[in-house]
């Protein structure tokens, strides 16, 4: 099939999805947001630094986009390639065609459809066979207003190991929509650490659309932290474990504040023998925010295991957490578990810390920091330190 025909087929499919609302989350009027102005001269570096992202730090690659302007992209490690999606489609069609809109149907919903039809930018990151680096590719998406519709592809080839540190944030408090359609491929025996930090404002709508395909003996580790207000955020990433003996670990740490409405979760499909998944989430809500958290594991092959854990903490009377764990077994030789709990900080613990001379605010912050500590260790000291700083910031913002 020629490139032209493929692109035409994608367009045809997308047209069918334009009026399709997402089954979850608040419906957003995309056309209205398209009309919103953006600000190309915004000082985003300072904002990135506030999230601890320093583009001058050495990594294996960089991708930076402000609204719909691709500011820079580069590869800095042999075997790791970073391009814009347009560059890849234009100049690497033979390489990208097997991954381009193959995991996500352009007609999935209107957010995906708009991205397929009117999106601009997004990255194509590829780690070549056998390439191993824990120097992260830093990918930063910044919004100042309007719609930012991105299409990302990550391919980690056989025996390669890659880390992507993605920071998405709003530089100005202006009505905007961020859609990131991400198709992620892990070939046999590969490994990907995908770390995402989001920082929005109370007028941003966010709709990430992610599907991950995990091959034989591959390992996918994702870590998502959101530390800010948002107007609405809806995402339900799907991780398809096609390979045997493959592993998935997914950690979501979300702070709901202001009047933010979140509908989030993770959907893992275990379709390989001996595959396993661990999905852990920590939700903290305050003010009048609301978080719906959907955790789902589906197992089809023997010796597959999944563990879902969702712990929620309510810090105010007007906030809400609604957690929906689902287990779906299609084979008798599977072990699927879930644990969920929602509660508040225990008075006894706060009082104890007060008597140790720790102020109320510091005591609450310390307990929240303990609550969100999921004790994962990433084999890169700088990244661990960075994540710890973000989690400290999370705890300190929660306790205000």
């Amino acid at each position: 099939m020629s490139k032209k025909s493929v692109l035409e087929e994608i367009r045809e499919k997308a047209l069918k999805g334009l009026d399709k609302s997402s089954p979850y989350g608040v419906d957003v009027d995309i056309e209205k947001i398209f009309a919103q102005p953006s600000e190309s001269s915004v000082d985003y570096e300072k904002k990135l630094m506030s999230l601890g992202i320093d583009l001058k730090q050495r990594g294996s690659g960089t991708y930076l986009q402000l609204d719909n302007i691709i500011k820079q992209y580069s590869s800095m490690y042999p075997g790791v390639e970073v391009l814009s999606i347009e560059d890849a489609v234009e100049n690497r069609w033979d390489e990208i065609k097997d991954f381009y809109w193959r995991l996500i149907d352009p007609s999935t919903d209107k957010y995906v459809a708009y991205t397929a039809l009117r999106g601009r930018g997004g990255f194509y990151i590829r780690a070549k066979r056998g390439t191993k680096t824990l120097l992260p590719v830093q990918a930063c998406m910044i919004m100042s207003g309007g719609a930012q519709l991105l299409h990302n592809i990550i391919v980690v080839e056989e025996d390669a190991e890659l880390m992507v540190l993605s920071g998405c944030l709003a530089a100005l408090e202006r009505l905007s929509l961020h859609v990131g359609v991400s198709e992620i491929y892990l070939m046999p025996r590969s490994k990907l650490y995908f770390i995402m930090i989001h920082s929005w404002t109370q007028v941003n709508h966010v709709r990430p659309r992610t599907t991950v395909l995990v091959g034989d003996e591959a390992e996918y580790i994702d870590y998502y932290i959101n530390i800010s207000d948002v107007s609405t955020l809806q995402t339900f990433p799907k991780i398809i474990v096609r390979g045997d003996d493959a592993k998935v670990s997914s950690y979501n740490i979300i702070l709901g504040s202001g009047s933010s409405k979140y509908d989030v979760g993770t959907n893992v499909v275990l379709d390989g023998e001996g595959s396993s998944a661990q999905i852990i989430s920590r939700i903290v809500v305050k003010d009048s925010s609301e978080v719906i958290n959907r955790l789902r594991a589906e197992a089809h092959k023997r010796s597959s295991k999944a563990y879902l854990e969702c712990n929620g903490l309510l810090l105010s009377e007007n906030s809400r957490i609604y957690t929906i764990p689902e287990l779906d077994a299609h084979h008798p030789d599977t072990d699927l578990y879930h644990e969920a709990s929602i509660g508040r900080l225990r008075d006894e613990e706060i009082e104890y810390l007060l008597m140790k001379g720790i102020s109320y605010r510091d005591a609450v912050s310390m307990l929240i920091r303990g609550f969100i500590d999921v004790s994962i260790k990433i084999p890169n000291q700088k990244i661990n330190e960075y994540i710890n700083k973000v989690l400290d910031l999370f705890a300190s913002k929660s306790s205000v």
């Binding site: 225990r346 006894e348 008597m355 001379g357 310390m366 307990l367 920091r369 303990g370 969100i372």
Partner: protein
């Protein structure tokens, strides 16, 4: 000079009065023993002095260095030098022991290196180094929890140390370790100490001049420790009630 004076204190939890008409004095450089059977009100009294928000003061007063601290919040009391070793500290999920120690130390020691040094020294003395990177209290044995809790007291550098039942439910080795640390790292640096026990296990190792005995929420006896202990160990707490 008196550092602590309690006058006609009635305190409890919720609407329930647990201790009644308590009068107690502690003088500079004095260590006293507070004895009593289970549920007699010893911990309530100690927590009243430390300012535990859970304890309600119905009436009466607490003076520390002649300042009325009856309604002072626990953080301010701690700043003034009043610190407590809790009998049953809560387990703090996700809060690493080292982090908690460091936070308490940071009020007195600004240098991270110096704090680390202090934490390591005291942890070594209390034989709890292996707990530093674990969640505070989680999976600790009874003795480990008591020793870790004593460490928090030492790190807060108290002027008035309130020690609640360090010897209950722990083995003799832990009692000796704690008593050694109390003598070596605490007693020389404080203005006064109230040590609570109902088993008397620790009194063999720590010397105190006077003792108060509390029974059913009231102080029923005050006197020399040696006499009180010999009476209790031979005839039980009731004997003091009967001899009033």
């Amino acid at each position: 000079m008196e550092i602590l004076r309690i006058e006609k204190l009635n305190a409890g939890v919720g609407d329930n009065i647990i201790i009644r008409d308590i009068n107690l004095k502690l003088f500079t450089r004095e260590s006293i023993l507070l004895l009593g059977p289970n549920a007699s009100g010893k911990s309530t009294l100690l927590n009243s002095i430390a300012g535990n928000p859970r304890i309600k003061i119905f009436n009466g007063s607490i003076f520390y260095n002649n300042e009325d601290i009856t309604s002072l919040d626990p953080v301010k009391r701690n700043e003034k030098g009043i610190s407590i070793m809790i009998q049953n500290p809560p387990r703090l999920r996700g809060v690493k022991t080292r982090k908690l120690f460091d936070k308490i130390c940071s009020r007195h020691i600004k240098s991270i290196v110096e704090r680390e040094k202090e934490i390591n020294e005291i942890s070594k003395a209390l034989q709890i180094q292996h707990l530093l990177d674990r969640d505070y209290g989680h999976g600790f044995s009874g003795g480990e929890l008591k020793r870790a809790e004593l460490a928090t007291l030492i790190f807060s550098r108290p002027r008035l140390a309130l020690i609640d039942e360090p010897d209950s439910g722990v083995d003799i080795d832990s009692i000796i370790i704690m008593a050694t640390v109390i003598k070596d790292h605490l007693m020389n640096n404080i203005d006064g100490m109230i040590l609570v026990t109902h088993t008397g296990g620790i009194v063999k190792y720590i010397e105190t001049s006077r003792s108060y005995v509390i029974y059913n929420g009231r102080i029923i006896y005050e006197g020399e420790t040696s006499y009180v202990l010999s009476k209790i160990f031979s005839e039980g707490f009731r004997s003091l009630l009967e001899s009033r």
